[in-house]
C-alpha cells in the first residue's frame, strides 16, 4: 500500500525574537506510531500547527508522500490524508455522533453543487432505482461506502450505543473517542493527535493505547504529541524529544529514554524508567 510519509524538513517558526521551532526534521512513516515529547514551551504545539497547516513556517517544508504541502490549508491537507485531532475535542455539538462521523467520512470530495441542486445522498431514498443507478454512474451517489465506513468505525470503537446521541451532550471521555472516530472516518494516511490522553482516566487511556496500536496495524501512521510521557512511551515505535525548539533526541523509545539531555530535562518531572509498564496498568 502506497501510503504517504509525513516529513518535516528544516522547519523554522519565529515569533518576533523567539524561535519557537528551530530547524526541525521529523519523519512519521505509515503504519508506525511516532511520539513527540518535550516540556512546556519546547515548541511541540507550534510544530504541530505547522504540520496541520494552522500556521505557516518561516523556513522549511512539510511533505506528505512526494507532495509539498507546506502552504496548503488544513482542509486540503485533510483531504490528502493528513487528519488531526485537537487538545480540546472539537466536535460539532449540535450534530449526532453518527452525523459527526459522516462529516468526516464524506469530505474527501469537495463538490457541493450536487447538494445544492437537491442531488444529495439524502435524497437518494426518494428516487427510483434506475435513477439511482444513473447517479452512481455519474459518481453522485457515494452514500453506500460512506455510511459503511461510519458503521464500521462505530462498531469497532464500541460507539454504536451513542450513534444517535447529540454530540454536545456526551461526557469528555466519550468526546475524545468520537473525535478519534471522526478522524478515522476521514480515512487518514497519517493521524496527528494533540494530547489525546488529556482528560482521560487510566482505563480510558489504556483503551486509547490499544486503539492506537490497532489503527497503526491497519497501516495508518500516527504522530502523538503529549505531556503524558507514560502513554507515549507505552505505545510508540519511535520518539522525538524537543527542548527549546530543537529536536534533542530521536529514535526508539529506549534510546530516547536513556538520552542524557532528555533525562536532565525530565528528571524533575517524571521517573521515566517506570514508564513502560504504568501505561498498561489495566
Amino acid at each position: 500500500m502506497s501510503r504517504g510519509v509525513l516529513q518535516a524538513v528544516g522547519l523554522v517558526r519565529r515569533y518576533g525574537g523567539l524561535t519557537a521551532v528551530d530547524h526541525v526534521d521529523l519523519v512519521a512513516p505509515p503504519g508506525m506510531i511516532t511520539g513527540l515529547i518535550g516540556p512546556n514551551g519546547a515548541g511541540k504545539s507550534t510544530l504541530f500547527s505547522l504540520l496541520t497547516g494552522v500556521e505557516q513556517p518561516d523556513e522549511g517544508q512539510v511533505m506528505l508522500g512526494t507532495t509539498d504541502i507546506t502552504t496548503m490549508r488544513p482542509d486540503i491537507r485533510s483531504r490528502r490524508g493528513l487528519v488531526q485531532t485537537f487538545q480540546v475535542p472539537s466536535l460539532f455539538p449540535t450534530l449526532t455522533v453518527a452525523d459527526n462521523l459522516l462529516v468526516g467520512a464524506e469530505n474527501r470530495r469537495r463538490d457541493y453543487a450536487g447538494g445544492l441542486l437537491g442531488l444529495s445522498a439524502q435524497g437518494r431514498g426518494r428516487i427510483s432505482r434506475s435513477a439511482e443507478r444513473v447517479l452512481e454512474r455519474l459518481g453522485l451517489a457515494p452514500k453506500g461506502p460512506v455510511i459503511q465506513i461510519v458503521e464500521e468505525v462505530l462498531d469497532s470503537l464500541g460507539l454504536s450505543d451513542v450513534r444517535d446521541t447529540i454530540a454536545g451532550t456526551l461526557p469528555t471521555g466519550a468526546l475524545r473517542l468520537v473525535e478519534f472516530a471522526r478522524a478515522l472516518c476521514a480515512q487518514p494516511d497519517i493521524l496527528l493527535l494533540d494530547e489525546p490522553a488529556s482528560g482521560l482516566d487510566a482505563a480510558e487511556t489504556a483503551k486509547l493505547s490499544e486503539l492506537l496500536r490497532r489503527t497503526a496495524a491497519d497501516g495508518v501512521g500516527i504522530l502523538i504529541v503529549d505531556h503524558d510521557v507514560d502513554l507515549v512511551f507505552s505505545v510508540v515505535d519511535q520518539v522525538y524529544a524537543m527542548v527549546g525548539g530543537r529536536v534533542v533526541a530521536a529514535g526508539d523509545p529506549e534510546t530516547v529514554r536513556n538520552d542524557p539531555t532528555v533525562r536532565s530535562v525530565y528528571l524533575a518531572q517524571a521517573p521515566l524508567a517506570a514508564a513502560g509498564q504504568s501505561g498498561e496498568g489495566r
Partner: protein, 735 residues
C-alpha cells in the same frame, strides 16, 4: 490644499464622534459588549431632551442635567441589571450579547417611533450658545466646538487615569477577563459592570444631544449617524482611546475639507456622497484593512450555534410516520399562506409583503442559521435585487434590452449573487464582531452610494407583470410570490440536508474541527453568502413589486439590523420561523400604529435570554415536553426503556447552558423520559432517529387503560373498523 476654516468646522463633528467612540470603548472594555444600541440610546436621550426643552419649556441647563445625569446613566443601569447581567452570569457567548444589544436597539427604536412618530423634527435645541470666539485673524471657532473638544480631552484623560492608575481600573480588567473568577477574589463585579454601562450610555446620551441640532431629529437617521461612528472604535481596534479620538477628528476634518472641491460627472457625484458619508466609508475600509480587532474573551463571537440550537435533520432510519407528520405540518402552513387569496383586495396587497419578506429572512437563515456567519447587511442585497430587476425590466441596465418583469426578477436576483460572493470573501478570515460590522458597512455603503443616488434610483417605473402575455392579476401575483417562496424553501432545504447540510452545520459548530476532517470551510462560507445574496435579491425584487415603488428607506441599513433581530427571535435556523417572522411583522404593521412591529421584535429579542434557540426552538421544546407528558400519562413509568442520561457538557463552550432543547437525546429536568415516549404508542412522535427497541406490549397506566377501553367501546358501538393496538402501530412506524 487645506482650509483652516473648513478644518475648524469639522472639529465639532469630530469631537462628537470621538465622544461616541469613547462611550463605545468604555462599555466594551468594562463589559465585553460592543453596544450596537448606542445609536438608539443617543436618539432616545435626544428626543427626551427636546421634549423637556421644547414641549415642557424647562430651562436648558435643567433639561441637560436631567437628560445626561439622570436619564442616560439610568438607561445604562437598567440595561446592565436586566439584560446584560443575566447574560454575563450564564457566560453567554459574545454573539448572544451582540444580539441582545441589537434587541435593545430595536426596542428603543420602537419606543421612540411609538412615542414621537417617524417624522423628522428640526427644532432640537442646542446646548451651547450659537456664538464663536476669534482664534487669530479672521478665523473663528464656535463655542460648541471648543466645549466639545474640551470634553473629549477631559474624558480621555480621566478615563485613562482611572484605567491605569486606580484599583478600580485593575478591577475592571479582572472583571472583563473572567467575571466569575474576579468575584471569587472579592471584586464587586456587578458594580464595575454597572459603572461601565452607566458611563457608556451617558456618553451615548451626550452624543445624541449634541448631534441632534446639527441634523434633523429622526429615529432612524440619528441612530444611523451614531452607528457610523463605529469606524472610530474599529480604527482603535476596540482598545486604544487616543487612537479613537484622533481618528474621529481626522475623519471629520477630512470630510469637511472635501467640501471645497467640486467635480463634474460621475466622480462629482461620488464626491458629493463622500462629503457627508466619509465615516461609513472609513468604517468599511478600516474593517477590511485592520487585520484583527482586539476582541475580549475567547473571541468566539462567531459561534452562532448558541442561537441556532438545532442540528441536522436525522440522517438515517427516520420513521415513515415522522415524514407523514412533517408533511402534514407543511401542508397546514401552506394552506395558511394561501388564505390571503380570500382576503379583500387591500388586505391582499398587504399580504404581498409576507412572501417577499419571508424570502429575505430565509436568506439570513442560510447565512446565520445554517453556516453560522453573522451578517448584518441583508437589506443591501435585497435592495440590489430590487434595483437590478427594475432596471432590467426598464431596459436601462448596461444597455441590455428590456426583459419581461418576471424574468427580470430572477435575473436580477442572480446578478446579486456575485455581490454576495465578494462580500463573502472577508468572511473567510473574519468572524463574529468584525464580520457583523463588515457586512453592516457593506449594506450601508450600498445604501448611500447606490440606493440614495438619483442616477441609479430615479426614473424607475413598474410595469404590470406579465407571464407569457397574460397580465398577472393581484391574486395571480400573490401565487407567483408563493412559487418564489417555494423555490427559496427548496434551496434552503437542499442546503440543510445531506452531505452539504452536514458540512455547513459542521462549519457553524466548529470551523477548525470541520477543516480538520477536510470540510472546505472557505468555499462553503462563500457558497452560503452567494446563495443567500441571490435569495435576498429575489425577496427584494418581490418586495418592490408589493409596495409598487422603489424607496431607499425600504432597504436602509437599519432594516438589516431589525430583520436580523427578527430572524434570530423566531429561530435563526428555522425556515418556518423565517416565514412566521415575516407574517408577524406584516400583520402587526397592518393592525397597529407604525413602530409596533419594531417594538414587539425588540421585546422578544430581550426574551432571548430565556430561550436561546429563539421562538422556533422554544416551540419545538414545548412540543416535546407535551409529547412526553402524554406518554407518561399513558405508559406505566416502571415499563420505561432505560433512560438516555442527558449529560450536558458544553463541547467547545457553544451549547447554551440553560435549555436542553438541543435534540433527540434527552430532555433535562422533569421526571419524564424519552424512553417512555419510545416504548409506547408515541414512538411515532418525531423525537429521534433511534432504533426503537422491539417493545413488548407496554403496560398502560390506569388512565391509559381506561382511555383505550373507552375508545374500544366507542369503536365497537359504531361497528366500525377494528382499532389497532398501539404497539402494533408503533412497530409499523419504524423501518
Amino acid at each position: 490644499m487645506t482650509s483652516v476654516d473648513l478644518a475648524l468646522a469639522g472639529i465639532s463633528l469630530g469631537a462628537i464622534a470621538a465622544l461616541s467612540g469613547i462611550g463605545l470603548l468604555v462599555t466594551y472594555r468594562t463589559n465585553g459588549v460592543l453596544n450596537l444600541a448606542q445609536g438608539g440610546i443617543a436618539t432616545l436621550v435626544a428626543y427626551v431632551f427636546r421634549e423637556m426643552v421644547v414641549e415642557w419649556s424647562l430651562p436648558k441647563w435643567l433639561a441637560a442635567v436631567i437628560a445626561l445625569a439622570v436619564v442616560s446613566p439610568g438607561i445604562g443601569l437598567l440595561l446592565e441589571r436586566f439584560v446584560f447581567r443575566p447574560l454575563a452570569r450564564r457566560r453567554a457567548s459574545a454573539a448572544e450579547s451582540l444580539v441582545a444589544s441589537l434587541g435593545v436597539l430595536v426596542l428603543i427604536l420602537g419606543i421612540v417611533a411609538g412615542i414621537w412618530g417617524l417624522g423628522s423634527r428640526s427644532d432640537a435645541p442646542n446646548i451651547f450658545p450659537n456664538s464663536s470666539v476669534r482664534l487669530f485673524g479672521e478665523t473663528r471657532i464656535g463655542i460648541d466646538a471648543l466645549a466639545e473638544l474640551l470634553m473629549v480631552v477631559v474624558f480621555t484623560i480621566i478615563i485613562g487615569l482611572i484605567a491605569a492608575r486606580t484599583a478600580f481600573g485593575r478591577q475592571i480588567r479582572a472583571v472583563v477577563d473572567d467575571r466569575q473568577l474576579a468575584e471569587l477574589s472579592g471584586v464587586p463585579a456587578d458594580r464595575v459592570a454597572a459603572a461601565g454601562w452607566a458611563a457608556g450610555t451617558t456618553m451615548a446620551g451626550l452624543t445624541g444631544v449634541l448631534l441632534a441640532p446639527r441634523f434633523q431629529l429622526t429615529p432612524y437617521g440619528l441612530t444611523l449617524l451614531v452607528l457610523e461612528t463605529f469606524a472610530v472604535v474599529v480604527a482603535a481596534r476596540l482598545a486604544s482611546m487616543p487612537v479613537a479620538v484622533l481618528t474621529a477628528l481626522g475623519i471629520a476634518i477630512l470630510q469637511s475639507e472635501l467640501k471645497q472641491f467640486t467635480l463634474h460627472g460621475d466622480a462629482g457625484q461620488i464626491l458629493t456622497v463622500l462629503q457627508s458619508n466619509l465615516f461609513i466609508v472609513a468604517l468599511l475600509v478600516l474593517l477590511l484593512a485592520v487585520p484583527k480587532l482586539r476582541e475580549l474573551g475567547s473571541g468566539d463571537s462567531g459561534a452562532t450555534a448558541s442561537f441556532s440550537s438545532r442540528g441536522a435533520p436525522p440522517s438515517g432510519r427516520v420513521s415513515g410516520v415522522r415524514f407523514r407528520q412533517d408533511y402534514l405540518g407543511k401542508l397546514g402552513g401552506f394552506a395558511l399562506l394561501l388564505a390571503p387569496l380570500t382576503f379583500a383586495p387591500a388586505d391582499l396587497r398587504s399580504a404581498f409583503m409576507v412572501p417577499a419578506l419571508g424570502l429575505i429572512f430565509l436568506s439570513m437563515v442560510i447565512v446565520t442559521g445554517y453556516s453560522g456567519q453573522l451578517s448584518l447587511g441583508v437589506a443591501g442585497f435585497a435592495g440590489l435585487g430590487a434595483l437590478l430587476s427594475l432596471k432590467l425590466a426598464n431596459g436601462n441596465l448596461f444597455g441590455l434590452p428590456a426583459i419581461p418583469g418576471i424574468w427580470s426578477m430572477f435575473l436580477g436576483a442572480l446578478l446579486v449573487a456575485p455581490v454576495g460572493l465578494v462580500t463573502g470573501y472577508p468572511a473567510i478570515r473574519r468572524r463574529g464582531l468584525t464580520l457583523a460590522l463588515t457586512t453592516f458597512a457593506v449594506g450601508a455603503v450600498v445604501s448611500r452610494f447606490v440606493f440614495e443616488q438619483p442616477t441609479f434610483a430615479n426614473g424607475l417605473y413598474l410595469d404590470p407583470l406579465k407571464l407569457f402575455g397574460w397580465e398577472l392579476s393581484e391574486k395571480a401575483y400573490y401565487v407567483f410570490e408563493l412559487v418564489c417562496l417555494g423555490i427559496g424553501l427548496l434551496v434552503v432545504r437542499n442546503l440543510h440536508h445531506g452531505r452539504l447540510g452536514r458540512a455547513l452545520l459542521a462549519v457553524r459548530d466548529d470551523s477548525s474541527g470541520a477543516a480538520a476532517v477536510g470540510v472546505d470551510v472557505r468555499n462553503l462560507k462563500l457558497l452560503a453568502f452567494t446563495v443567500s445574496a441571490a435569495v435576498a435579491g429575489l425577496g427584494g425584487a418581490l418586495l418592490v413589486h408589493s409596495s409598487y415603488s422603489f424607496s431607499p428607506d425600504d432597504f436602509a441599513p437599519l432594516q438589516s439590523l431589525l430583520w436580523f433581530t427578527a430572524v434570530v427571535v423566531f429561530g435563526a435556523d428555522s425556515a418556518a420561523g423565517a416565514i412566521m417572522a415575516a407574517a408577524f411583522i406584516v400583520t402587526i404593521d397592518v393592525l397597529a400604529p407604525a413602530g409596533s412591529s419594531t417594538l414587539a421584535i425588540g421585546i422578544l429579542a430581550l426574551a432571548l435570554g430565556w430561550m436561546p434557540g429563539g421562538l422556533a426552538s422554544a416551540v419545538r421544546g414545548m412540543l416535546r415536553l407535551f409529547a412526553q407528558h402524554l406518554a407518561d400519562s399513558f405508559v406505566d413509568p416502571n415499563q420505561r426503556a432505560p433512560r438516555p442520561v442527558p449529560v450536558r457538557i458544553s463541547a467547545g463552550g457553544h451549547l447554551p447552558a440553560t435549555t436542553g432543547i438541543t435534540g433527540a437525546s434527552g430532555i433535562p429536568g422533569g421526571g419524564a423520559t424519552l424512553g417512555a415516549a419510545r416504548a409506547g404508542h408515541y414512538s411515532q412522535w418525531p423525537l429521534g432517529a433511534q432504533r426503537a427497541a422491539p417493545s413488548s406490549d407496554p403496560r398502560l397506566t390506569p388512565f391509559g387503560a381506561d382511555l383505550v377501553s373507552v375508545v374500544q367501546q366507542y369503536a365497537a358501538s359504531r361497528q366500525r373498523a377494528v382499532i389497532r393496538q398501539p404497539a402494533a402501530h408503533s412497530q409499523e412506524g419504524t423501518r
